[in-house]
């Protein structure tokens, strides 16, 4: 079963009297352990596509199926539940809750889903160890470096064993070397769990970490 199936997805918004097309009949299928790099310039519709795939936005038209669940017609409450149970996010800007430690930032996802507390703690500790953050679990985000914060966010995205991981510009705030390390870490972690992922980036140097790349321009996905 594909992790994601988007069929003829459109997203429009109003700007004054005009209607702007953010995403135009986008169709995309992602295998259940596939990593896709979505590449495009600023304003091309990358984040809109990512937000629709993750249930943050509803499409104006078209069908979106994630892990076998049609989400395009879900109401806000059901979308919240869907995001909690099926998707892992790594956002570009705001990524960690500042008043929670690294470990708590992972645990908060499990607590939302009322998962078994003991298992969740073990999973959080395993993920932190894998991400080489075993001794940083008790640190608040402002006590971590940029790279460490990004790694915590990756751990959090994997915490709820999602069907789909969505990662928005993971290397935009990092230098090339650190960016490559983070990309390698993401692909290793995602691949080791046979999870599907979409990585949005405008940096074409990072695309070789993905199984394939798709370009997007003016809301249109390249064939």
């Amino acid at each position: 079963m594909p992790a994601l199936e988007m069929t003829d997805v459109r997203k429009t918004y109003r700007s004054g009297d005009t209607e702007v097309m953010a995403l135009d009949r986008a169709s995309l299928t992602l295998g259940d352990d596939e990593i896709l790099a979505l590449v495009g310039p600023s304003g091309s519709g990358k984040t809109t596509l990512l937000s629709i795939a993750g249930g943050l936005l509803t499409p104006s038209d078209g069908s979106v199926v994630v892990g076998g669940e049609e989400i395009s017609s879900l109401d806000a409450k059901a979308l919240t539940r869907f995001r909690r149970d099926k998707v892992g996010f790594v956002f570009q800007s705001v990524n960690l809750v500042p008043f929670l430690t690294a470990r708590e930032n992972l645990l908060v996802v499990a607590e939302m889903g009322r998962r078994d507390a003991k298992e969740s703690r073990q999973r959080a500790d395993t993920l932190l160890d894998e991400l080489d953050l075993g001794d940083r679990g008790g640190n608040l985000p402002n006590q971590l470096s940029g790279g460490e914060r990004q790694r915590v966010a990756i751990g959090r995205a994997l915490m709820n064993e999602p069907a789909l991981v969505l990662i928005d510009e993971p290397t935009s705030a990092l230098d090339t070397k650190l960016g490559e390390q983070v990309m390698e870490l993401i692909t290793n972690e995602v691949k080791s769990r046979s999870t599907a992922a979409i990585i949005v980036t405008h940096d074409t140097r990072m695309t070789h970490y993905a199984d394939r790349s798709v370009e997007i321009s003016d809301g249109v996905l390249a064939a």
């Binding site: 702007v20 953010a22 809109t48 149970d85 809750v97 929670l100 908060v108």
Partner: protein, 376 residues
């Protein structure tokens, strides 16, 4: 969600601690003012409030003022005939210069009919008068020459009254009070004013028949007996001179204090909510329900305010222990619970602005509107 709310508070102890402290000081201020008002009003009205007559009957021209009222014995007999009256008796009331504890001072003398309406109801030590020239005095004035066994001399006369009992909260017009027999009052008044042709009671006090409402009976007495105006005890207390003015002044101060509490809590939570909107947006994007985020902020408001009420109550207890006998401050649990509940209720009301912001928070804020091409 409780865990998330408490974790945040634990990480920002100083910030939330300061707010709890500020709310605590304001709660203390409110409690202290209310206690002060109660004590002050008690000093004005205690004797009337803590006597046994349920209905007080004035002369209709006295404007509910004891010192301007005279009720005839014919009127008292007429009152006794009104349906619902179990017992009626005269009350003689006047302020006299007395010598107590070796010093001249003003004291209010209340003369009532023994075993009839008008006896003090808050006896704390000793006994009620059983004969003429015996008195129950206000316990707060015991050290000023009004203790049990003390003899109080009415200045310029040969009348001497012996204190045989002490009752709490029976001051009147901020003066020491002596509850004596009606005859003792009459004797005292005659001794002070030997040329006066006649002494009439200041008012009549009434015991109601069991089950009869004092308010209804007062209305009936006023209607059926010529030349009198009757009030139930609570209304009589409220209409005493100065009570309304003092109550209104304090009510205004209390209102201001409640408004300040509401504004302080409301603004504080609005500011910290706005500051943490990105984090709340992130949680919402990750799958946290709106209701649990709202609950989390509400829980913080509740915790801060309950903490504030506890601090305020402890400060009041401390003030009570530090206060002297001449002006005692007592921490009334009922008052603390009522005031605390009002403060918590107002704080929750004040945080509606913050809660609405949280409720309307859009999960897409986490990816940034700019990244969505200005999408609305």
């Amino acid at each position: 969600m409780m865990r998330l709310a408490l974790r945040e508070m634990r990480r920002a102890k100083l910030r939330f601690g300061f707010l709890s402290g500020a709310v605590g000081l304001l709660v203390f201020l409110i409690l202290f003012q209310q206690t002060l008002l109660g004590t002050l009003l008690g000093y004005f009205t205690g004797a009337l409030e803590n006597q046994s007559g349920e209905v007080v009957v004035y002369n209709e021209e006295a404007r509910q003022n004891l010192s301007g009222s005279l009720v005839s014995f014919d009127q008292i007999e007429a009152i006794a005939e009104v349906e619902g009256v179990a017992e009626v008796g005269p009350l003689g009331q006047g302020t006299f210069t007395v010598v107590a504890g070796g010093e001249e001072q003003e004291a209010a003398v209340w003369g009532y009919q023994l075993d009839g309406p008008g006896e003090p109801t808050t006896l704390v030590e000793g006994r009620l008068p059983e004969a003429d020239r015996e008195a129950v005095a206000s316990s707060i004035d015991a050290a000023a020459g009004f203790d049990i066994g003390d003899e109080v001399a009415v200045a310029g006369t040969d009348v001497t009254i012996t204190v045989v009992g002490l009752a709490s909260d029976i001051r009147f017009s901020v003066q020491p009070v002596l509850f004596v027999t009606y005859e003792t009052w009459e004797t005292t008044a005659e001794a002070v004013n030997p040329d006066a042709p006649l002494f009439l009671p200041s008012a009549a006090l009434v015991h109601t028949v069991d089950g009869v409402d004092a308010v209804d009976l007062a209305t009936l007495i006023t209607r059926e007996v010529d030349g009198v105006e009757a009030l139930d005890r609570a209304a009589a207390v409220d209409s005493l001179p100065g009570v309304e003015a003092v109550s209104q002044s304090f009510a205004l101060i209390l209102l201001l204090a409640f408004i300040v509490v509401t504004l302080v809590v409301g603004f504080f939570f609005l500011i910290i909510t706005v500051q943490k909107l990105p984090a709340l947006g992130l949680l919402k994007a990750l799958g946290q329900s709106t209701s649990s985020l709202v609950l989390s902020v509400s829980l913080q408001v509740l915790t801060v305010c309950v903490g504030g009420v506890v601090i305020g109550a402890l400060l009041l207890v401390g003030a009570g222990q530090a206060s002297g006998d001449s002006f005692p401050i007592s921490a009334d649990p009922g008052l603390i619970v009522t005031t605390g509940s009002i403060v918590v209720g107002l704080a929750l009301l004040a945080s509606i602005g913050s809660l609405r912001r949280v409720a309307r928070l859009d999960a897409t804020t986490v990816v940034g509107r700019q990244n969505l091409g200005g999408l609305e």
